[in-house]
Symmetry: C2
């Protein structure tokens, strides 16, 4: 093993990465209507009150509340109907004592009125007047100016991930463009003399590239822009040239390395040569995925992931996804993934000082949800295809008993 070999726990490795990687998100301006799932690059402040005029929340009559006090079916309040508030225009009528105006849901409250009586609580007295059968309080059935948002309120903070309702909320205030973080470019390299592109037919001893495409898809999920640099042969000069090109062109580099020891050593040397502080972890106390390299050079994270697909995916989600979120200015750990509770269908062993990630599928048995470990060597991509989620066994656990309740993080 090279001299700088040091195995860290996942959380120590992340802390070391975090302390050396402090990216500044790069803002770009996009139409708000097209900003779903983007991350805000700056706080947004309300440019005006919402609503900008008092609005009725019901169909009925705008009134002065005190005119209705004590009204009941036996003793209704009589009010003169002096007009109707048109939709989408100012209420021109003014309500004085003893008067009312027809108003529709969403319509503007006319001057002088301070409440709305629902039409269901009224009946026509004659052509120009109504009986009010129940009292309303001041402000009843009215949304006040600024009740939704006040001018100057902070609407959403930098780093916020835009959801459907946020898009609507911003457009309601006329915020038709927003500054969001540019997706970081994530350079992805696969390696191995045995690896060929998926559109080619493997000869004896050859296999098609899996990781470039799985990791590109995970990059998109995390909010990054994958840039594929193809398959590098197992030669130091080719590896170095490929990694340096990705390092120059991208914000984050992910090398899905060949699995042989000689190849891993070569990756370590190439990554170590990229710059300071260099390799932060060489080996993570995790299964699968121990032979992982975490490095930062010249302010950019560089990851050497194991070549087998299960390890590569587990490690990507633990390190690269949060790094992409950091680059976006978002909370790195807030990646909400659906989880369910289930009972473990069979005993799983672990070792103290090692985190284990067990792919599982879910089965309902007598109304109970069971997590069935999908065993398979971590070289098998279909272990993950057959899995519906993953169970984590913590560092200090020696394993889990059959029937134990576990949290399954779902693969969506």
């Amino acid at each position: 093993m090279p001299e700088f070999f040091h195995v860290l726990t996942p959380s120590d490795a992340w802390q070391r990465l975090r302390s050396h990687y402090r990216p500044l998100p790069r803002p770009e301006t996009v139409p708000t209507a097209a900003a779903l799932d983007r991350v805000l690059a700056a706080d947004l402040i309300a440019p005006h009150d919402l609503p900008q005029f008092p609005r009725s929340t019901v169909d009925g009559y705008a009134v002065r509340a005190r005119d209705t006090f004590g009204a009941s079916p036996g003793l209704p309040a009589f009010l003169d109907v002096v007009g109707e508030v048109p939709m989408g225009a100012a209420a021109t009528v003014t309500i004085r004592t003893g008067q009312a105006a027809i108003v529709h849901t969403g319509g503007m409250l006319p001057e002088g009125a301070d409440a709305v009586v629902m039409v269901e609580h009224t009946q026509k007295a004659d052509e120009g007047s109504i009986e009010v059968l129940a009292p309303v309080a001041v402000g009843e059935n009215v949304i006040q100016v600024g009740e939704d948002v006040r001018q100057g309120d902070r609407l959403l903070a930098a780093g916020h991930h835009l959801r459907p309702q946020d898009i609507g909320g911003l457009l309601a205030l006329g915020i038709t463009t927003v500054a969001v973080a540019q997706p970081p470019r994530v350079g992805i390299l696969s390696t191995g003399d045995e690896v060929i592109p998926p559109d080619q037919t493997p000869g004896p001893g050859q296999v098609r590239d899996i990781n470039s495409y799985t990791l590109a898809a995970l990059t998109r999920r995390a909010g990054g822009e994958p840039v594929l640099f193809g398959i590098l042969p197992d030669r130091r000069d080719a590896l170095e040239a490929g990694v340096r090109r990705a390092f120059a062109e991208c914000d984050i580099v992910v090398l899905s390395a060949g699995s042989s020891v000689s190849y891993r050593d070569m990756s370590v040397e190439v990554i170590a040569g990229l710059g300071q502080p260099g390799i932060l972890a060489h080996g993570i106390s995790i299964r699968p995925g121990k032979p992982t390299i975490v490095a930062v050079a010249g302010g950019k994270p560089v990851f050497g992931l194991p070549g087998n697909p299960v390890s590569a995916m587990v490690l990507f989600e633990l390190f690269v996804t949060p790094a992409i979120r950091l680059a976006l200015g978002a909370d790195p750990q807030a990646t909400v993934r659906p989880q369910v509770q289930a009972r473990l269908a069979r005993q799983v062993n672990s070792a103290a000082g090692r985190e284990d990630y067990i792919p599982v599928r879910l089965e309902e048995r007598n109304g109970e949800l069971w997590a069935v470990p999908v065993f398979g060597k971590s070289n098998l991509i279909y272990t993950l295809v057959r899995a519906e989620g993953v169970v984590r066994i913590p560092l200090d656990s020696l394993g889990l008993e059959q029937g134990a309740t576990v949290t399954v993080t779902l693969y969506e």
Copy 2:
């Protein structure tokens, strides 16, 4: 109210919709590498075994297992090293009794060999031979032909939502294009004389369109293609023309209707005139969102959602999202949304026979997660912007006590 007014429970309304809406997904072929989050239109079958040759999972020596039986550091097995398996090529050497060949992780097992000894369990005896210090069983450290997938296996079923690992798994088998369901076109119409486009400045009594954009974003999330038909004025002829155009051009129509009674009645008439079977539910026993129309005409679902943003969003997720998933051929109810358990920060009342949806934000208090209801009239879009999720109160419940444990479905 029009004669066909009938209020249904959310589940009865869905069942009625389901019984009249049996869409056939329309397939289109796309590159597998670009098919993330698409829904498969047909089952996929493995065209060949994976792997196609027996592979070593470690760095070491390919051997005949029986030659190592009983080997130990005190009594090692001596084997002649007769060659090295090159990566990415056929193993040309044949292993006979007493022989071994160098093999790297992922390399092909040579003929005659049936196991691999890890390099760590060997030491060099002299230039051309090794000592094996521990026995291996037949098949040890080897992935057999077809161990990942067998030719003819069903890999993934029609209706499956493609995840990152699925993309990798398909490309591993040379499946470089896939038939996926075309996104259904979802026509979205907003209405109201008071509603103006977001890039305009509201005059007195006017408000900007929120729902078109929130519902378009929700449509994308569900896998549909939103088609915006703009804002319709509150006139029967304009409404009818707009709805008919959307109905002709789209697979699903969503009308976010003005909230006044006269306007709702007009929507009902227009929707009822589109075709058979027509309106299936007019009114859903839910809060917010009661004045909702669910219809099917000529095989297409048509929804009239309440105009206020909170209702529109709750109802969209309950009815339109599953309808879009049906159109994709996916399981309509399998929309996995992250959920967390939390304690309710204050009492919430409901009524028997009505489902309530309460927007909440989450707060950690002394290590416990609390769901704090975001109260606000359902006309307020920022009720949803401030919310981190929603709590459902079932039909038969009269409400929930303060401190009750609730499931919060998170807004991602």
